[in-house]
């Protein structure tokens, strides 16, 4: 089932030092359309930094990013904004706009960035919120929503922009255990629907069942790369397997 199409995202030689410390030491990988790749690894490995370098929220010291074969000119503001509109990002702390209700949170980028008219933007926002199961909460403000609901709104907000790929930075790490499931099921639906995603997470069960490829990061480089069976099955003698079994002792699994 090898497809010879060019990868939808290609990342090459990303290097970043912060506060004198090298966080990312030449990271490269590529992502094909419809794939779900999962980044795992200990805290401080650079997973968050890598994701934020891909959409240049943190400008990398060195490296290149190609979207659909075209290199991203991060120095040109217009190109950068246009690129970011095609890349959805989900944050660990949700980062919903506090002064807007759920509906407005989803609609604002449609109106201000995509210049949609108010009624169209509203209709699209309502549709996206219903897709993540929050149609009845559209008039509530972030402070009135639970963590799981906030994260689902942020997913709706990202999806409303029709992104080509999604970057998810530990989307469930800030959630109470009982709320993790609702967010994972939305992400699962996205994956099954063919969305191209890179996900940094500690949710190993989820990774095992849905990832096309697992990338294990430590100290700023990708140490191991392979399918979930290769890296995570009980028989594998890999660093990844080591790391995951330690994790299993600390976390309860949410499938």
């Amino acid at each position: 089932m090898t497809v010879q199409k060019p990868p939808i995202l290609r990342v090459e030689n990303i290097c970043k030092a912060l506060g004198g410390k090298e966080i990312l030491k030449s990271v490269s990988f590529s992502l094909n359309k419809g794939e779900l790749k999962v980044l795992i690894g200990p805290s401080g490995a650079g997973k968050s930094t890598l994701l934020q370098c891909i959409n240049f929220l943190i400008p990398p010291d060195k490296g290149h990013v190609w979207l659909e074969g075209v290199e991203v000119q991060s120095r040109r503001k217009r190109d950068l904004y246009a690129f970011r509109q095609q890349v959805g990002m989900i944050f660990q702390d949700f980062n919903l706009f506090d002064h807007l209700n759920a509906l407005e949170n989803v609609a604002i980028a449609l109106r201000k960035v995509k210049k949609m008219h108010r009624p169209e933007a509203r209709d699209r926002a309502v549709a996206e919120l219903e897709q993540v199961g929050l149609g009845d909460k559209k008039h509530l403000y972030p402070a009135e929503l639970s963590g799981g609901q906030k994260q689902r709104v942020s997913i709706a907000r990202a999806l409303a922009m029709d992104p080509k790929i999604m970057l998810l930075d530990e989307p469930t790490s800030a959630l109470d255990p009982e709320l993790i499931g609702e967010v994972l099921s939305v992400i699962r639906d996205l994956a099954r629907g063919g969305m191209t995603m890179i996900l940094a997470t500690h949710q190993i069960g989820f990774t095992r069942s849905l990832a096309d490829e697992v990338l294990f990061m430590e100290h700023g480089i990708i140490i191991e790369q392979g399918s979930p069976e290769e890296l995570l099955s009980p028989k594998a003698c890999t660093r990844s397997r080591d790391f995951c079994s330690r994790l299993n002792d600390l976390y309860t699994e949410n499938e």
Partner: protein
């Protein structure tokens, strides 16, 4: 005693017209300060090194020199130098406006800096330009949180407006002094003036409290 009261009552309409002038000065100054202050705050937070330094210089100057000196400097000196012929009323409003802009810029700057970084990141991740982010995400929140500080600044400017009297502006202070020096009822007239200022402060602060309640974000505690 009774003639004092009579003198006050007789002067009241005249004084109230002065209150109108005072209100004009305050509204004009606070308005100018608001517009300038927001721009300076944004410049200080998001601008380059030169812009930050220039704004810092402006703030240092207008916060360090007494208002009285500024009024004299501009009205008798700088405005005349550049050929700007303003009435005492306009000049006082302009100078007070420039002064309060310096203070307001710091209030807004503090509010902007107190917002969580994530608000900025999420807006950028969605592809919003810096200007759109500032206008639609940062300022709506920062301005809400600035209301208490702004209310405080309002009461300060209201009191400073009394200094416009030294330039000859016919506001509360000028009019009270005018009547007092004719009737020699200094004490009751200045007490009346004080009450007028008090009342104007009270109205303004109440209005701003109502505004704060009206724009409050449901459920949110900063």
């Amino acid at each position: 005693m009774y003639e004092a009261l009579a003198a006050v009552l007789e002067a009241l309409p005249y004084l109230l017209k002065g209150a109108l002038a005072t209100s004009g000065i305050v509204i004009g100054a606070m308005g100018l300060g608001l517009v300038l202050g927001i721009h300076m705050a944004v410049g200080q937070v998001f601008g380059n090194f030169i812009i930050r330094r220039l704004i810092g210089l402006y703030v240092w100057f207008f916060r360090g020199v007494p208002v009285l000196v500024l009024l004299f400097l501009f009205y008798f000196g700088l405005f005349a130098l550049i050929g700007l012929n303003l009435s005492a009323f306009a000049a006082s409003t302009l100078v007070l406006g420039m002064t309060t802009a310096a203070y307001q810029s710091q209030i807004f700057r503090g509010a902007i800096l107190s917002l969580p970084r994530g608000q900025l990141q999420a807006a950028r991740a969605l592809g919003m330009s810096d200007i759109k982010t500032i206008v639609n995400i940062i300022l709506p929140q920062a301005l809400r949180f600035s209301i208490p500080g702004w209310s405080n600044e309002y009461s300060i400017i209201l009191k400073d407006s009394a200094l416009a009297f030294v330039l000859g502006t016919s506001e509360i202070m000028a009019r009270s002094h005018f009547v007092a020096s004719r009737t020699y009822h200094y004490l009751p007239l200045y007490i009346t003036a004080g009450c007028l200022y008090f009342f104007l402060t009270w109205i303004g602060v109440r209005a701003l409290l109502k505004l704060e309640a009206k724009v409050r974000i449901p459920g949110y505690s900063h």
